[in-house]
C-alpha cells in the first residue's frame, strides 16, 4: 500500500548570487525522501538552515518565488502534487492538508473576527450555509479547548492570548477535516505551560481523528512528545531516520548523537556540554561529500569526497554516514567495532 504522503528525492532551489561567486542554483532542500503513513506523526528535526521548513513549503507548493521545486516527486495517496494544475492544488491545500505555523498572529487576519475567519475557511472548501459553518466553527472551538467558545467566535485576534490564537489556528486547520496536518514549530512562540496544553491537544486530535501530522521542529522534547518516527535533517538532506524510541535510545549519525549530547537537559550540571564545532554551512557553500564532514568527530578518508549512501542498520532505520557503514560492515564481519557509533550499532544488530 502506498504511503499517505511520499517524498522522493525532492530538490528545492533558489537562484544563486553569481556576482558574489556563488553557484547558479542554490539547493536549500537537496534530495529529501520520506514517507508519512496514514494517522501517524513524522517529525522533521533540524537546526536553522537544515531545510525543514522549506521542505514543508515544497509539499504545499508555497515555496516563495523565485524559489521552486526543481526535481523529485511529492505524492499524496499516490497522486503527484507537483503536476497538479494551480487551481486543483489550491483546493487540495487546506482541504486535504491543513497547516499551522509558529506565529498565529501573522497567519490570522487582524481585522476579521476569528469565528468569521474559520467560517470563511469552511465555506471556501464546502457548500454549506453560513449558519451551518458557524455551528461547526463553534463545535471546533469547543473541541480544541477554547473556553467560552460562543464569546470567542466574535473576538478579534488581538483580544486573544498566544495560546488561544494557536488554538484558533488549529481549529481552522481542522475545519475541513484534512488527512494531514503540517505543523511548523507549532509551539515555539508559546510559554512552556501553554506549550504543554497545545502538545496535549495535538496528540488528542491525532488519536481521535486519525489525522497524520508532519511535525517540523528544532526541539527534541517536542518530538518526543508527539512523534512516531523522526527524520533528522542537516544541510538540506535527511541524515538519519528511525522510530522515536530507536532514535533516542541509539542515535547513530554523528550529527544526531552530537545534537542529543548538546542538550543541557540531558547533561549533568557541572560537566561540559558536548559542542558540535563550527556552524551549519550556508546553502551556497555546502561541502562536497558528506555535508557534516567539516564538523564531524568521526570523519575519515571517504567523507570529504564521497556522498555517503544509504545504510539500513536495522528494520525501519536508515542512516547516511561512512563511519556507520564501515562499523556495520565490521560488526557483520564479527570484527570489533571501532567507534562509539559502532558500539551502538553492535547493540542494534544484536537485537
Amino acid at each position: 500500500m502506498s504511503a499517505l504522503l511520499e517524498l522522493e528525492g525532492v530538490r528545492t532551489a533558489f537562484p544563486g548570487d553569481r556576482r558574489r561567486g556563488g553557484p547558479a542554483r542554490v539547493h536549500v532542500v537537496d534530495g529529501v525522501s520520506f514517507r508519512l503513513e496514514r494517522g501517524r506523526v513524522l517529525a522533521l528535526v533540524g537546526e536553522s538552515g537544515s531545510g525543514k521548513s522549506m521542505t514543508a513549503l515544497s509539499i504545499l507548493r508555497l515555496v516563495p518565488k523565485p524559489g521552486r521545486v526543481v526535481e523529485g516527486a511529492i505524492r499524496l495517496d499516490g497522486r503527484e502534487l507537483l503536476a497538479l494544475p494551480v487551481g486543483e492544488m489550491r483546493r487540495l491545500r487546506g482541504r486535504r492538508i491543513g497547516m499551522i505555523f509558529q506565529e498565529p498572529m501573522t497567519a490570522l487576519n487582524p481585522v476579521v473576527r476569528v469565528g468569521d475567519q474559520v467560517v470563511e475557511a469552511i465555506r471556501l472548501h464546502e457548500r454549506v450555509s453560513a449558519a451551518d459553518a458557524r455551528a461547526r466553527t463553534r463545535a471546533l472551538f469547543a473541541e480544541v479547548g477554547i473556553p467560552d467558545p460562543d464569546a470567542r467566535l466574535d473576538a478579534y485576534p488581538h483580544q486573544l492570548s498566544g495560546g488561544l490564537k494557536q488554538r484558533v489556528m488549529i481549529a481552522m486547520a481542522l475545519s475541513t477535516r484534512p488527512e494531514i496536518l503540517i505543523a511548523d514549530e507549532p509551539t515555539t512562540a508559546l510559554d512552556v505551560t501553554i506549550q504543554a496544553q497545545i502538545l496535549g491537544l495535538l496528540r488528542q486530535l491525532q488519536r481521535d481523528r486519525g489525522t497524520a501530522i508532519l511535525l517540523i521542529t528544532h526541539d527534541l522534547g517536542i518530538v518526543n512528545a508527539l512523534a512516531d518516527r523522526i527524520a533528522v535533517l542537516y544541510a538540506g538532506r535527511v541524515v538519519e531516520e528511525a522510530s522515536r524510541e530507536a532514535l533516542f535510545a541509539r542515535p547513530l549519525h554523528p550529527y544526531t548523537r552530537g545534537l542529543l549530547a548538546a542538550i543541557p537537559a540531558l547533561a549533568t550540571p557541572g560537566t561540559r556540554l558536548h559542542e558540535i564545532r563550527g556552524t551549519v554551512p550556508s546553502p551556497d557553500r555546502w561541502p562536497s561529500g558528506c555535508r557534516f564532514e567539516p564538523r564531524c568527530g568521526e570523519r575519515f578518508e571517504p567523507c570529504k569526497a564521497i556522498d555517503p549512501a544509504e545504510t539500513r542498520p536495522a528494520e525501519g532505520r536508515r542512516v547516511y554516514c561512512h563511519a556507520v557503514a564501515r562499523d556495520l560492515a565490521l560488526a557483520e564481519g564479527a570484527a570489533a567495532p571501532r567507534s562509539s557509533a559502532g558500539d551502538a550499532l553492535a547493540e542494534e544488530v544484536a537485537r
Binding site: D191, V192, A196, G221, N224, P264, P269, G270, R272
Partner: protein
C-alpha cells in the same frame, strides 16, 4: 563593601509602568511588572530568574542596571544602592554591571566595525591610553571568546548568530565587569551553538569569578547552569532556592507546573495531561490573594483573599530557600509533588573561585 555582603542584594524592588489614557494622558492603572522582588547573588555565582513571558523577569534585569525607574526598593551592588547613586557614581558602577541580550544583531550597530564596538567601553571608561593598546585589548578579548582577532575589522552581518553573541560577550567583558545580566542570551540559538555559548559562559565564570543573573524561560538550561533559582509569576518571586532542591522538590504549585511542562527527552516518558490549565492573567490586574490561585490545582479558600508570604523550605546546609504558598506554611500538610526529579538534589559543582 563589608565582609559577608553579597555582590548584589535586591530588596523590595518594585517597578510598575503607568497605563495612560485619554486626552490628558491620565494614569488609569499600572502594569505591575515587578513587585517587592528580593534576592541575592554572591561572587562567582549564577542566579537564574525564570518565568513565562510577562512575568516581569526582564524588568527586574533592567531595573538592576538602572535602565528603569523603580517606585521602591534597593539594589545594593558592591555595597552601595545604585538606585540612590548620583549620576557620576552610577556611571562608574555601570562599568562593573553589564548585560547581554537575546538578539545580538539588535544590540550591535550594523554600521560599526567589531573593533570599535568592543573598544567603545574601553574608551568611555578610559581603560586604554592609545590606539595600539586598544587594539591589543580588543584582540585579547576576541581570543577570550574564541574568535580570531583578525575579524575585528568586519561588520556584524558577516557573522553567524553564535559568533555575534560571542562579540556581545567580548564587548561586555571589555570593561571588566563583576556581574553580567544575561537576558535570554542563548534562547534564540540552535542547540549545537547554544552548547558552545553555555560552555564559554561557564569558563568565563570559573576564570574571572564572574556572577551571572541569568534571565530565561528555558528550565533545562537553568538546571544545567544555575546555582540558585528564583521563579517569578505575575511580577512576584513565588519560589527561590538552590537549583538542586528546586528541581528535586519544587515547593510552589507554579514551579511544579513549570517543571512538569518541560517536554521530556526520555522516550519512555511523555507528558500526558497538561500540568496547568488556562492562561496567565494580565499583569495590569493581577488576581487578589495569591496571583496563581486562578490556575492552581491546590487552591484553598484563603488563597483567594490573602497573599501568602515567603515561607522557608527545608533542605541542605545553605537552606532550601522560600516558597510563597500556604501549603508550606509551618504546620501545613506537605503538597503532592508533580514533575519532580527524585534523587537529583546535588548542587552543581561550584565554578567560582
Amino acid at each position: 563593601m563589608t565582609a559577608g555582603e553579597p555582590l548584589l542584594r535586591v530588596e523590595g524592588l518594585t517597578t510598575w509602568y503607568p497605563i495612560r489614557q485619554g486626552l490628558m494622558r491620565r494614569v488609569v492603572g499600572h502594569v505591575q511588572a515587578a513587585t517587592e522582588v528580593a534576592f541575592e547573588i554572591g561572587t562567582g555565582r549564577t542566579l537564574a530568574l525564570v518565568g513565562e513571558s510577562g512575568c516581569g523577569k526582564s524588568t527586574v534585569g533592567r531595573s538592576i542596571l538602572g535602565l528603569e525607574s523603580p517606585q521602591a526598593g534597593r539594589v545594593v551592588f558592591e555595597g552601595s544602592d545604585i538606585l540612590q547613586l548620583p549620576a557620576e557614581a552610577l556611571r562608574a558602577a555601570r562599568q562593573r554591571l553589564q548585560i547581554i541580550f537575546q538578539d545580538p544583531l539588535a544590540s550591535l550597530d550594523p554600521r560599526m566595525r567589531i573593533r570599535d564596538q568592543i573598544a567603545e567601553g574601553l574608551r568611555a571608561f578610559r581603560l586604554v591610553s592609545n590606539d595600539a593598546e586598544c587594539d591589543r585589548r580588543v584582540a585579547a578579548l576576541l581570543e577570550r571568546v574564541q574568535l580570531d582577532p583578525d575579524v575585528m575589522d568586519r561588520y556584524p552581518h558577516e557573522f553567524s548568530g553564535g559568533q555575534r553573541q560571542r562579540i556581545c560577550i567580548a564587548r561586555a567583558l571589555a570593561v571588566d565587569p563583576r556581574l553580567i545580566v544575561c537576558d535570554e542570551s542563548v534562547s534564540a540559538l540552535d542547540v549545537s551553538i547554544q552548547a558552545q555559548i553555555l560552555n564559554l559562559l561557564t569558563d568565563l565564570q570559573r576564570d574571572l569569578s564572574l556572577s551571572y543573573l541569568f534571565i530565561t524561560h528555558d528550565l533545562s538550561v537553568v538546571r544545567y547552569l544555575a546555582h540558585d533559582v528564583a521563579v517569578m509569576y505575575l511580577g512576584r518571586i513565588v519560589e527561590q532556592g538552590p537549583t538542586g532542591r528546586i528541581f528535586a522538590r519544587p515547593a510552589h504549585p507554579y514551579t511544579q507546573a513549570l517543571l512538569a511542562a518541560i517536554p521530556s527527552l526520555d522516550p519512555g516518558r511523555r507528558i500526558e495531561a497538561p500540568p496547568v490549565l488556562g492562561d496567565v492573567p494580565s499583569p495590569s490586574k493581577p488576581p487578589p490573594g495569591c496571583a496563581f490561585h486562578t490556575r492552581c490545582p491546590f487552591v484553598m479558600e484563603r488563597c483567594r483573599r490573602e497573599r501568602p508570604p515567603a515561607y522557608p523550605v527545608e533542605g541542605g546546609a545553605q537552606g532550601g530557600g522560600t516558597s510563597a504558598c500556604f501549603l508550606v506554611e509551618p504546620g501545613a500538610s506537605p503538597p503532592v509533588v508533580v514533575g519532580a526529579e527524585p534523587g537529583r538534589e546535588a548542587e552543581p559543582a561550584p565554578t567560582g573561585a
